[in-house]
Symmetry: C2
Subunit: 349 residues, 2 copies
């Protein structure tokens, strides 16, 4: 499979649209700057979407699901079967992200990039299975270079579908038992921070489980130390299919001028890997929330990102990003619909 798409140019946001939007914000009937980050969002989206009046009405949420060989090390409180069970739950509309997508009028797509077993055809689920879960990275690379290419491509295709569907905002999410261990390992290799800083309770590990997770990552980083020099090596060695797919999706979205709203810890690690691969995508990433997972703050710092929300969420599935969508929508509608001082005949404008 060719990865020529990965090298395609990444546009810059429109600085003239941003300047126009900033000037409009200063003419709206409010003290300048008094809408805080909602003003920044409207100005930023105007630049990204290259529109006078940006919008986040058509939102595409894609949840990538995959399994992880490293679960054999006892790094999750849930059995691996939960990944496929949750794919079915997404499809039936019972998961948190299913409910949120419906409430927001957003399109939800689930991409199976490699759950441990094949759930078979399901409504709303796209099958792009790279394998039946990754290999256990404690003693071998999680995936082959070809598998990395396939997973990147599965992500890119999801972004292309979003663009073709007229999406104004792309949200990527993940589901995969054990994937906070993979994400923490990738983050350690990318940031050179210690596993004790980046590994946390994930879906609910107890302190003994977290200590085990830290030890597993430490040993794996040691074992693979000469094969962790580039972002693609790191993803191949320690990543998960869903994490790699997210990185591919973000690069492809930026290439097509589709702004991305980044979810929590695991998705942010994918975003960091994507930024290390293609630094020009960074302006295309907006950050939705700071997860309760302690390592998220370190990853956000590496991305120089200040998320919109801090609600103690730690579910994944893109749920934190979905919850931030109304903020973007309200920022856009304020930008478009508020009266200017001149229109309202108000003093001091």
């Amino acid at each position: 499979m060719t990865s020529a798409w990965l090298a395609a140019p990444i546009p810059e946001p429109s600085s003239s649209r941003m300047a126009t939007a900033r000037a409009r914000q200063d003419r709206l009937t409010k003290p300048p700057g008094s809408l805080g980050r909602l003003e920044e969002l409207a100005i930023g989206l105007a630049g990204l979407q290259d529109r006078e009046f940006p919008a986040a009405d058509r939102v595409r949420i894609v949840v990538f699901a995959g399994d992880h060989g490293v679960v054999r090390a006892g790094v999750s409180p849930y059995p691996q079967s939960v990944t496929v069970e949750m794919i079915r739950n997404f499809s039936r509309g019972g998961a948190a992200i299913s409910v949120l997508a419906r409430a927001l009028g957003a399109e939800l797509e689930v991409v199976d990039v490699g759950a441990a077993s094949d759930p078979g055809p399901l409504p709303g689920v796209v099958s792009r299975r790279v394998g039946a879960g990754t290999r256990d990275f404690r003693d071998q690379p999680a995936m082959t270079p070809e598998e990395v290419r396939l997973a990147l491509r599965a992500g890119a295709e999801a972004a292309w579908r979003a663009v073709e569907g007229g999406g104004e905002l792309f949200i990527g999410g993940e589901m995969g038992i054990g994937n906070s261990t993979s994400a923490a390992a990738v983050a350690c290799a990318l940031t050179h921070k210690a596993p004790a800083i980046l590994a946390g309770p994930g879906a609910g590990l107890d302190p003994a489980g977290v200590a085990r997770k830290v030890a597993v990552i430490e040993a794996s980083l040691e074992h693979h130390q000469f094969f962790l020099k580039t972002p693609l090596e790191i993803l191949s060695t320690l990543g998960g299919f869903e994490i790699v797919a997210l990185a591919g999706a973000f690069i492809a979205a930026a290439q097509r001028r589709l702004p991305v709203l980044v979810d929590g810890f695991i998705v942010s690690v994918a975003a960091l890997a994507a930024v290390r691969l293609r630094p020009e995508i960074r302006p295309w990433l907006l950050f939705a929330h700071e997860s309760a997972e302690p390592g998220h703050r370190v990853v956000l710092e590496a991305l120089q990102a200040a998320p919109l929300l801090q609600l103690g969420m730690r579910l994944g599935e893109a749920s934190g990003a979905a919850v931030a969508v109304p903020l973007l929508r309200l920022a856009c509608v304020l930008h478009r619909q508020m009266a200017t001082f001149a229109e309202a005949g108000i003093s001091g404008g």
Copy 2:
């Protein structure tokens, strides 16, 4: 005018509804606690609304507008005429809160409790004018005890209208040039903190203006020091009609089991005064956002409140509370619509 309503009993939230809601949250298909504050919101609203499935679909937003004699001291960068001009802007739908209310499908009501001049009849504006602005509190009480009663009552009537209209959530906002000076003075008297801590730039004062504002409040607190012993004395001496009306609205809302979503600095000062008057209302107050106005944090601490959002907003008009409404709605819809582990046939539930 009688204030007998002020003494009416304030119910407690239903602890049994909260227990039932908490148990449901732990059966939904997610790691327990992983929706963070959205879980707390659903559980808290179930207790407040005494319903199995709480909701925030029918939201009533009431913006109280009034003017302030203390503006003569040069404590605002805007002329006093802006208060009435903004009442017209609310009525015509061009203000931030007008746009937000439309976008949220919320009912917006503006109550003129005493702008400096009478705007006359306007669509969506209720006239409950207590006076043509308060007196300059530098050398006299801002209002008489009878004016306090009228303003409290104007607030209570707005809450009663919200209850009669089937409101599920009450939001109070304010508009009034100079009211961050009045609010800071009230907060100083209620918390015994220094004006330098509670007075900030408000709608956009420069540092020299903030220093003037601090000096005005210091001198006023000194001047009135023997008349600031009770919450009602403090409101009468230093308050504004809209601040007193907000306090009345919050007490009346709690009396009728209507949860309140509290906006920024000025509204939080009104909430603090209301809690000092009737401490039993505290559970009925949810806090939406932390304002960019530095004194807000001090007031929130006095209320032991942890707001949902921190977006650097400092506009007033209930705009910060409005922006938090989607979080409450999403919390409610997740609580109601997510599948349980048993329903989804998922392991580990």
